[in-house]
Amino acid sequence: MAQVRGKVLGIDLGTTNSCMSVIELGEPKVITNSEGKRLTPSVVGFSKKNELLVGELAKRQIVSNPENTVQSIKRYMGKPDYRVPLNNEKYTPHGISAMILQKLKADAEKYLGDAVGKAVITVPAYFNDSQRFATKKSGEMAGLEVLRVINEPTAAALAYGLRDGVQDQKILVYDLGGGTFDVSILKIKNGVFEVLATCGDTELGGDDFDRKIVDYLLSEFKEAEGTDLSENTEAMQRIREAAERCKIDLSSLTAANVDLPYIFESKRLDMEITREQFEAMTEDLVKKTIAIMEKALQDAGLSSQDIDEVILVGGSTRIPAVAKQVEDFMGKAPLQNINPDEVVAMGAAVQAGILGNEYLKSSGDQQIDSGNLVLLDVTSLTLGFETVGDTTAFIIPRNTTIPTRNSKVFTTHYDDQKVVRGKILQGEDQSASKNVALGTIVLENIPPAPKGVPRIEVTFDIDANGIINATARDLATGNMRSVTIERPAGLND
């Protein structure tokens, strides 16, 4: 095996599938897992004999052992109180993800013939601070030093840019994964990949397309046989699996069959779904994605004609209706020669290369080395401070390039107010309670003064890792209070 001491692993920790890549001879190479596959299903389970199963093996027992199998855990990352009961224990979502990462790490070490201690892990661009924190934590739990958590569409842009020669252009990345959807618009110029705008929905993905088929099957079955199968766990698992297969089939066939004998007692579920029906069922989902694309273009101050290339990322972009709608809206065909399942992991490896000052080869005209490439990502959610009356005072708007810093001056709202307290908020809502709270700032010992007189400067600072630092300072006394974002207690397990 070649000497690959200290390789940084690029990991796409997906909702449905995960993928990993490293830089080899200046190019990102996807690593096969111990089963010889380039994609590892993001499924974790315990076999009937209490063995830990991750990946394909776990996926196989979804139907036979559903109570002991977990899939699509990414949807719950960052939710502090969510627990998965498994094998007589309660696991946090990041704990489950850590098991997936552990397997990836072990497989990578086997492939490379050397220990792997560092990684760059990707997240949806629209993940909030808690979700990113949970992702970083899961990496650490798996024994990896997470050098950076980067956004999936940006990673895809990096991989694409490196491969095709980094020319000056504007690209739109449409990333529809298993559970999340992101759109990012980037400007590539002089080797600088600058994100202009990013928009998304962390609860919109291939799983929702599956859900539409499941609902259809359930309602049809109920009508035909008079039974509601939704309460039956085992039946539901089988139906979900069949729905996913059906969706995938409909990407290449115009009609697909779902045949589940003995779905309930002696009853059989045998139905055909045409592509037309499927497209009708899922039309609203696709429309949602187009609306988000529009918003991203608006935020970037561009029209669809300003975009030079459209890149489709994520397995769900294989759905013909999706690709077609994107093409219709953008007025140009998306690039065909990008592997939507692997490009994000490859991009993570490229970023790992940039951070490690590695030699990166570009097959285009330009000779790229990591000294000539830099990624300027943005914060995807507005950062604000809670003020009186459940209001959010926005301090750092979304789509601001990071690292960044901004301050605003606040004041007291009643006479002789000695303490100012407010939550640090992430989100676009005017109403503070509707945004995600990341922590609280408390500034005490404000000298007595009539209301409206004290000047309290609140500064938010976001570093290149997306880590937020908040400071509150009484401008009169110089009294300062720095706050590290407190994560909700549930994330600290």
Partner: protein
């Protein structure tokens, strides 16, 4: 330090030049690329400068808020009246190295060091005409790394200023002029400056010594440029200005050990 000085571009830089400069600096100072502990700060400042200057509206407002540039412009006929040589309000920083100045006009809002009071006070009254002068010399701002004398002067001072910029919140760099112009235009004042130089360097005069001193300074400046351009040649680990300060420290240590 104003935004133009920070980005090292002339006030009349085109939007394209501003953008190209920004991209260059981003690749240098983004925390992903620079291991320097102040990369974060530096990057934020560069970004702030770029955000203001790239927007024509904001740039206009910003330009109006700036004091006029301390630049020279070509005089029409005879040398300007020497004017009064009273010291200005700020204590001048003694400049240990006085570069030999080429004939061609030098541009860039590099005024990064405090000059001797004598030299630039005489310019102050004529500031409007400077802008025209600096505009014509804007082509000389060379970003490809070709040695540009003004860069020698400013780079060293920038590294000094770099540490001081944290304390000095208001822009005190405004009053600095690149007094290397003085030599070119005002032969009459030459002696004054030489005297000053002599006093500062402790030499007792004599043309030969002065010349030798200038040559030494030239060599030092070349050395500095090399340090910035290819730090490994001089064994410095950091790049750019960090290499300069590192090498400077090394030289100082060496000098101390020799003394």
């Amino acid at each position: 330090m104003d935004y133009y000085q920070l980005l090292d571009i002339p006030r009349v830089a085109s939007p394209e030049d501003i953008e190209n400069r920004y991209l260059l600096l981003v690749k240098k100072y983004h925390p992903d690329r620079s291991k320097s502990p102040d990369a974060h700060e530096k990057f934020i400042k560069i970004k702030e400068a770029y955000e203001t200057l790239k927007n024509p509206q904001k740039r206009k407002v910003y330009d109006a808020s700036l004091p006029p540039e301390e630049k020279a412009m070509e005089a029409s006929s005879e040398p300007e009246d020497s004017g009064d040589f009273s010291s200005d309000s700020e204590a001048p920083v003694p400049d240990p190295a006085i570069p030999k100045v080429p004939e061609e006009p030098v541009s860039g809002s590099n005024g990064a060091f405090k000059s001797t009071s004598i030299s630039y006070v005489s310019f102050k009254s004529d500031h409007d005409s400077f802008l025209a002068g600096s505009a014509s010399s804007s082509e000389n701002t060379d970003e490809s790394g070709k040695p540009d004398w003004s860069k020698y002067v400013s780079s060293k001072k920038e590294s000094k200023l770099h540490d001081r910029s944290k304390e000095v919140s208001s822009d005190s760099g405004q009053n600095d002029a690149d007094w290397s112009y003085v030599k070119v235009k005002y032969e009459g004042i030459d002696e004054d400056i030489d005297e000053d130089a002599d006093k500062k360097t402790g030499f007792s005069g004599g043309l030969f010594l002065k010349k030798a001193f200038r040559y030494t300074v030239v060599l030092v400046c070349i050395f500095l440029v090399l340090t910035i351009v290819s730090p490994d040649l001089v064994g410095a680990k950091a790049s750019g200005l960090g290499a300069v300060t590192e090498t400077f420290d090394k030289v100082v240590l060496l000098a101390k050990s020799l003394v």
